[in-house]
Each structure stands twice: as structure tokens, then as C-alpha cells.
């Protein structure tokens, strides 16, 4: 697939590349699923990047963290959907997973910190801090180290959708 650049009313159109759907119960039943899914998807979508091996390594690194976040959900029912689409140098991950209302609120707040100017400082503080890494660190790291843009979108039912735009192709070398 060549780079497709559609522009519609300013909002770029992302071409779908791959999607994985799974019952959340099945997904969280084995921790290794995060690793499997991130490695597999990274490999599939990186083949036509300029450096497939490096791209796949970086993408897997980012996606695995997001999947680990989903895997820690406190909600026991529903589905996980992970979709990757592409616009030019940017790959978009849309991760939808069930969560309880407090978690939803937590993600909404976390994402608002990520987009703020203090993201970098918050990230450094959390690296040097004593506490085990929170789910917020993951999001901060994506923004600070991977130049990702993040947002939270509405999803049906007790679910949340994290949308992460990763410009990895431009990040190399």
C-alpha cells in the first residue's frame, strides 16, 4: 500500500491497516497476550516502512505498554479492540477496552496532563519517584519520548477508546 493522503475538511483520513478483536476475559487470561499482540501487529504494519525492523521494534514497544494498561482493567466483561491505521508518516492506534467509571475518569485526566506543557517534568518525576510506574507514566512516555499525540474518545457501553498517533517514521535516526 502506498502512502495515501486524503484530506477531508482538514482532518486527515487514516487508512486502516489491521485490527484485532478479543474478549477482554480471554485477553487478560494470559499476560503474554500483550507481548504476542504487540509483536505481531508491529511486524505486520512495519513491512512497508523505510526501516521495517527498527519501526517494528519501536512500535511494539509503544503498543505493548498500551496493551498492558488495558490488561490491568478492573472491568471483567466486554471486548478489546485494537486497530491500527496510517496516514503518511503517522500510525494511529485505537485501543478500545472496557473499564469502570473511575478508570475512565483517570484516563481522561491523565491524557489532559499529557497534552500540557508540564508533561516532560511529570514524566521525569515519575521516573525518579519511588512508586511503581502508574498507568499515567505510560501515556507520558509516549508523548515525551515518542512524540505521540493522545486523546480519549467516547466508546459504547462501559468502555474507553484511547487514540494514539505515533509519528515513528519521522523519529528514526
Amino acid at each position: 500500500m502506498g502512502p495515501v493522503h486524503h484530506e477531508l475538511a482538514g482532518e486527515p483520513i487514516f487508512a486502516p491497516m489491521i485490527q484485532i478483536d478479543m474478549e477482554i476475559k480471554a485477553f487478560v487470561s494470559a499476560w503474554r497476550h500483550c507481548d504476542y499482540v504487540s509483536t505481531y501487529m508491529a511486524r505486520m504494519i512495519s513491512q512497508n516502512r523505510s526501516d521495517s525492523v527498527r519501526h517494528s521494534n519501536l512500535f511494539s514497544s509503544a503498543l505493548n505498554e498500551l496493551l498492558e494498561v488495558a490488561s490491568r482493567t478492573r472491568h471483567a466483561g466486554g471486548d478489546l479492540a485494537c486497530r491500527v491505521s496510517r496516514h503518511g508518516a503517522t500510525d494511529r492506534i485505537e485501543l478500545t477496552f472496557p473499564c469502570v467509571p473511575e478508570e475512565r475518569q483517570f484516563y481522561e485526566e491523565a491524557v489532559s496532563h499529557v497534552t500540557g506543557t508540564e508533561a516532560r517534568e511529570r514524566y521525569l518525576n515519575s521516573v525518579s519517584g519511588d512508586l511503581a510506574p502508574s498507568r499515567e507514566v505510560v501515556l507520558l512516555e509516549l508523548a515525551v519520548d515518542y512524540n505521540a499525540a493522545l486523546r480519549v474518545e467516547e466508546a459504547d457501553g462501559d468502555a474507553i477508546k484511547l487514540v494514539v498517533d505515533l509519528p515513528l517514521e519521522g523519529l528514526q535516526h
Partner: protein, 392 residues
């Protein structure tokens, strides 16, 4: 649990001689206690060392935040408790995220520093990675291809295979293979960014598909184990001072039952008529000159031993001679002229050779060109091809 779950995916080691703790592989635990033994090893190492502890993460391909936090916690706490101790984290430029992630630590504790390390065991790097070699490589591959296209099928090349070309240079070989044999996938790796850029540009211009160029270090590749039916490494083992390390990696990424194919030279056996004596003298000197820079351009006939020692079976060795009669003799002459430029130029200068030596050295190349272009002349450049099968 699937059998896959039982495979250890990472390895931690401590080397007391070098005060080096290394961790390699994929580290993605759910809970920190899965790291217990590695963490204990690190703590133990910290207890023993004085001065500097090296933390080698060059082959760490993945580490999740949970694990990163556990390890960095130990480093940070140690820095606070023991100001006498320094940590040097050694990363590789090949793994995209490690330098950045570990680099954060040095911002927090000045006693932690991060060094991006790329193979030092390749002393000739300067001569061969810079742009100057590109035209030589192009003509060389054009000349060797006439022979290799017939030879390759005897060493495992077939349609539809998954192959890797390690130390691919500017990618000509990969392109020729793609056209002639149509493997289903080619991964081509090199450590020269300028060569890779060149290769990618060629791929775009000619709309070539199915080749993935990747930046990497042949001695420590990000590529997974056992994934290629055929791994080629051409004219490159001979430029490393420890070729066995590269072969080990080629073996690792090759599927059991697949083959590793290498080509190398024995420069002192380049020949020509007329003016044989002068030509022979110069190429003997070429071998010595490369030897001075710890490169063994006499490696060709040693291929069999290297492959055996690396654990391969069903080893096949053959030789072919590129000559002035293969195609246009001018191509042959051009390659010799390019060798003369680099060998009697930059390399001789770097070794500190005097003008008298350089003049005689250059004369041999000129005589080789003379032989190549002479209507009754003959000029040759012998190549050793060898391949071995990775046991099942």
C-alpha cells in the same frame, strides 16, 4: 501454558572481570517478582564492584515500564547510598528506544552515564562505510553476479524463500536476487546509513518491492532467531577482525535446515598476464595492508573452517574467478582503478607508507589494468563461495 511461555525470553549475566552486568532479550514481566533472580544478580554485582559498574543493554530489544522501573530504582538508590560508585549504561544505536529511555537516568543521577556503543571490532569502518566505496561495490557486484546467479541455487537459493542479506552495502545484490529468484521476502541489513539511503532511493526509483532495508549491527542484530531460509553475507566476514562473532549471528537468524552463504576473497591470488610478477607483488602487499588494519582479505579458503567451527553441516565450498573476459574488460579495469585509489591512497597514507613504496604498490594495479585491457591479456580476481546448513 504454551511451550512458548516456558522459553526464557531474556538473559541477565554478570561478568566480574569487566565489572559488567548485561541484560538481553525481551523483558516484559507482569510482576516484578518474575525478575527476582536478575535483580538479585544485579544487587550482588553492585555489592562486589568498585569504581564503575557497566550495564550492558545493547541486546535488550524490549523492556516494559514495570521492568525498567525496577532496574532503574536500584541504580538510583545505589547512587544515593554509594556516591563512590558510577554506572555506565551501554546502549546500541540500533535499538531505537534504549538510549533515550536510559538517558533519562543520567538527568536524574549524574553518576549514571549512558554511552551509545557501536561495534569497535571493525577497525576498517572508516574506509568502507564512507561514500567512496559505492562505485566500487556497484561494479564488483555486476561482475560477481554473472557467476553467482548460476552458483546460488546450489547453496539454497530458490523462489519463494525468506532470505536476509547481511552487510548488504548499497543493496545491488538484493535487487538482483529479487529479480532473478523472486524470494518472498528479503531483509537487507547494513551499518552504513549512507549506503542504506542509496539503496532505498534505488528501490523507490525503480519501484522495487519485497526488500526491507534495515540499519543494524551484524554482530548484534535485532532480527529474531530462526526466521530465514537463506542468509547471505558477501565480501564482509573478511573485514571484521572477529568473523566468528558475525557467523554466530548469521547462524542464529537462520532457520534450522536453512543455509548461510558467504563469499570472501584471497587477495594475494589476484593475477594477470602479462606483467605477472609486479601484479603478484602488489596483491601480496594488499593482503598485508588490510592485515595492518586487522582485516583478513585472505579469508576465502578459511571459510570452510569458519563454517565448521560455527556448527554448520553439509558445508559446500567452491571458487570462481572474475576475469576480464567475463564482460566488458573496461569494467574489470575500473574496479582495479578504484581499488588502487583507496588502497594506494587513503589506506597506504594512513599506514604511513613512503612515496617509493606507494609508487611500486600502484604500479602493480596499473599492470593489472594493463593485463585486463591487453588484447592478448588475462586478468583475474578469485572469489571463494561457501555455505553451510544449520542443523535441524
Amino acid at each position: 501454558m504454551s511451550p512458548y511461555d516456558l522459553l526464557p525470553r531474556f538473559k541477565a549475566q554478570y561478568d566480574a572481570n569487566n565489572q559488567e552486568f548485561s541484560i538481553a532479550g525481551v523483558v516484559r514481566p507482569q510482576a516484578i517478582d518474575e525478575l527476582g533472580p536478575s535483580i538479585a544478580l544485579l544487587r550482588d554485582a553492585i555489592g562486589r564492584v568498585r569504581g564503575v559498574l557497566y550495564l550492558n543493554v545493547r541486546r535488550l530489544t524490549q523492556m516494559n515500564n514495570a521492568a525498567f522501573h525496577a532496574f532503574s530504582r536500584i541504580l538510583i538508590d545505589t547512587c544515593r547510598a554509594r556516591p563512590d560508585l558510577k554506572f555506565v549504561v551501554i546502549t546500541s544505536s540500533v535499538v531505537g528506544w534504549t538510549s533515550r529511555k536510559f538517558g533519562r537516568l543520567s538527568g536524574i543521577e549524574p553518576n549514571i552515564t549512558v554511552e551509545e556503543y557501536d561495534s569497535e571490532f571493525y577497525p576498517g569502518q572508516g574506509f568502507l562505510e564512507e561514500g567512496g566505496f559505492v562505485p566500487i561495490l556497484r561494479s564488483q557486484t555486476k561482475m560477481t553476479w554473472r557467476h553467482e546467479r548460476a552458483i546460488l541455487p546450489r547453496h539454497g537459493m530458490r523462489q519463494g524463500i525468506v532470505m536476509a542479506d547481511i552487510c548488504c552495502g548499497i543493496g545491488d545484490f538484493a535487487v538482483l536476487v529479487q529479480k532473478e529468484f523472486q524470494p518472498s521476502r528479503i531483509v537487507a541489513l547494513d551499518h552504513s546509513i549512507s549506503s542504506l539511503n542509496y539503496a532505498r532511493q534505488v528501490m523507490r526509483e525503480f519501484d522495487i518491492r519485497g526488500i526491507e532495508y534495515t540499519y543494524g549491527d551484524a554482530s548484534e542484530m535485532l532480527l529474531d532467531e530462526a526466521q530465514f531460509d537463506l542468509v547471505t553475507c558477501r565480501h564482509s566476514l573478511q573485514i571484521f577482525n572477529r568473523p566468528e562473532l558475525i557467523l554466530k549471528e548469521l547462524y542464529r537468524i537462520c532457520k534450522p535446515g536453512g543455509r548461510v552463504y558467504i563469499t570472501n576473497e584471497k587477495n594475494s591470488h589476484c593475477l594477470g598476464e602479462p606483467r605477472a610478477e609486479s601484479i603478484r607483488w602488489t596483491y601480496n602487499e594488499v593482503a598485508k595492508l588490510f592485515g595492518h588494519f586487522e582485516m583478513d582479505v585472505e579469508l576465502g579458503p578459511k571459510s570452510r573452517r569458519y563454517l565448521m567451527e560455527a556448527g554448520f553441516e553439509d558445508i559446500r565450498v567452491e571458487t570462481f574467478m572474475v576475469t576480464n573476459l567475463d564482460g566488458d574488460p573496461q569494467d574489470f579495469a575500473d574496479v582495479i582503478a578504484a581499488w588502487a585509489d583507496v588502497y594506494a591512497g587513503e589506506m597506504a597514507t594512513r599506514r604511513g607508507d613512503g612515496p617509493e613504496f606507494v609508487a611500486q604498490f600502484r604500479q602493480g594495479f596499473e599492470d593489472h589494468i594493463f593485463a585486463a585491457l591487453h588484447p592478448k591479456g588475462y586478468a583475474g580476481w578469485p572469489i571463494w563461495v561457501a555455505s553451510g546448513r544449520r542443523p535441524q
